[in-house]
């Protein structure tokens, strides 16, 4: 079993990096109630990948088709600007705009994939291809994730303040819109890179379930971050370790373990409250 896991150790390292960064950022995603912003950004990232595959299918050669992350990133960043700056001024309710972005991006991605000549491209929608992660891939993931996490360490109190009470932050001179944009940019950047390998379901899982586990288990912000990251990493390791020897799809196995951890955390919380 260990030999089989070691055979895919680069994939495991990749999953751990994605789990680390998405679980940490997921705390803001859940606390700010922007879970579906995360889902929509992931969907827009998928659209970017789908366009890249379609372009490759119609014979467009170049860096855009060789590196789907470029269009994925572009689409995600457009989503980031749309969600971070457009929400306040819009007459349409925020959740409706998120819904529009989610469903339109999803449908367009399916249409582009349907016309793409790249085999098995549909997998990116749900499962991704986490076992295909190479050493180069997880090093790129790490190179993106470390600066993102450093930004969050450095500006922890700023992100906390504008998330908790933006009106008061504004009266103390905080440029709330700019901080929100920076927060969303870090989330979007992480999603765009993670989506290349993890797929929609797993990225969404890492953005939501570990944070929920953390909120159930811990009482302070530091504890929530630590528990969320711990739960994300544990789900990645356990799910991965079960999927390889038992020939299960890795992404859903990790999601199933994340779900089990949420249930365990909920039971612990219930026992504590008695």
């Amino acid at each position: 079993m260990i030999e089989a896991i070691l055979l895919f150790r680069d994939a495991l390292y990749g999953a751990l990096v994605i789990a680390l960064v998405c679980s940490a950022l997921g705390v803001y995603v859940v606390l700010r109630r922007i879970v579906f912003v995360g889902a929509s950004l992931a969907q827009m990232s998928t659209l970017g990948i789908a366009i890249s595959f379609w372009l490759a299918g119609v014979g467009v050669a170049g860096v855009i088709t060789r590196k789907p992350v470029i269009l994925s990133l572009l689409a995600t960043l457009l989503g980031v600007v749309f969600f971070a700056t457009g929400m306040r001024r819009a007459r349409i309710p925020a959740d409706a705009r998120i819904g529009v972005a989610y469903v339109v991006a999803g449908a367009l991605a399916i249409l582009f994939i349907a016309k793409a000549a790249v085999g098995e491209a549909h997998d990116i929608f749900l499962q991704g291809n986490i076992l295909g992660i190479t050493r180069g891939d997880w090093l790129v993931l790490l190179a993106v994730s470390v600066p993102v996490l450093l930004v969050h360490l450095l500006f922890y109190k700023e992100f906390l303040f504008i998330s908790f009470d933006q009106e008061t932050a504004r009266t103390l001179g905080y440029r709330v819109e700019r901080w929100t944009l920076l927060l969303y940019l870090t989330i979007g950047l992480s999603i765009a890179f993670a989506m290349q390998f993890a797929g929609l379901m797993l990225v969404f899982d890492f953005l939501v379930l570990p944070a929920v586990t953390g909120l159930l288990l811990a009482r302070g912000m530091a504890g929530v971050f630590a528990s969320a990251i711990g739960a994300g990493l544990a789900a990645a390791v356990i799910g991965f370790s079960l999927s390889v020897p038992f020939d299960l799809p890795t992404g859903p196995a990790i999601v199933a373990v994340s779900g089990a951890l949420v249930i365990v955390a909920w039971l612990i919380r219930r026992l504590r409250e008695r």
Partner: protein
């Protein structure tokens, strides 16, 4: 200038929509002002102009250069799902003084504890915010406003959704802070009856009109009947003013005036 904030023929609104026009008044140092009016009358618009988050479309709103606000938002603007301790929340009031990217120091914590002491809940410093009662949450937000050492304490609907005991305690606390510390206070409320007995001046905003003056100048039958467009009685009971709409006036249709 002795005024902390000065409105000079200011017109306020959003885009092309004018909410209030030609506002001229000031908030002098040491004032205890109540900004009163029904929901949708323009209180929040005036408040935003005072805080500097809304620029006038005409005229000027001038703030004293060194002016610092201690802002207590409406309770529903704060997200109580965040797993924060009371002390963490109070420390936020010093974040701009601490600086971007820096962490609070021991001195900041000491000041936060002193602010909690001033509002009477120092013993709750390490408690999770979610476990507090409505009144304790409001005290926490007042402590957060105080810890930044403000010149002007601004409270937006501080008693909304509170029971009689908590309302009385919070308004009493604010009056005590004004009297004991000489703190300038602006309290925004839709409940004239509640704050008329605490503040020294009242600004009344109603359907585009704006009046400001000492409590006696505003809270009298003639002025209130004129502003609200219905017959209003002002009575006194045990030293407290009580404002009542005269019987029968409540059956008027929306927009109808007598």
């Amino acid at each position: 200038m002795s005024a902390l904030v000065m409105f000079d023929h200011a017109t306020l609104g959003y885009g092309r929509r004018v909410v209030l026009s030609d506002l001229t008044f000031e908030i002098p140092e040491g004032d205890f002002l109540g900004l009163v009016g029904p929901n949708g009358a323009g209180k929040t618009t005036i408040l935003r102009a005072i805080l500097g988050t809304l620029d006038p479309s005409a005229g000027t709103v001038t703030r004293r250069p060194e002016l610092r606000f201690g802002y207590v938002p409406q309770r529903d603007q704060v997200d109580y799902n965040f797993p924060l301790r009371v002390l963490d929340v109070v420390l936020m009031g010093r974040y701009d003084r601490i600086g971007i990217g820096r962490r609070p120091k021991r001195d900041d914590r000491d000041r936060a504890l002193a602010a909690l002491d001033a509002v009477g809940i120092r013993e709750l410093a390490m408690e999770p915010l979610t476990r507090l009662s409505g009144g304790q949450k409001q005290r926490t937000l007042i402590a957060r406003a105080l810890v930044g050492e403000p010149n002007l304490l601004v409270l937006d609907e501080p008693t909304t959704g509170m029971d009689l005991v908590s309302t009385t305690q919070i308004l009493g606390l604010v009056r005590e802070l004004h009297e004991r510390r000489g703190l300038t206070v602006l309290m925004v409320s839709h409940a004239l009856n509640e704050i008329a007995n605490y503040v020294t001046r009242i600004a009344l905003v109603q359907e585009g009109s704006f009046r400001i003056g000492a409590v006696d100048e505003i809270v009298n039958e003639r002025t209130l009947s004129e502003v609200y467009g219905i017959p209003v009685e002002v009575d006194s009971f045990a030293g407290h003013r009580i404002v009542l709409a005269r019987r029968g006036s409540a059956v008027m249709r929306p927009g109808e005036r007598r």
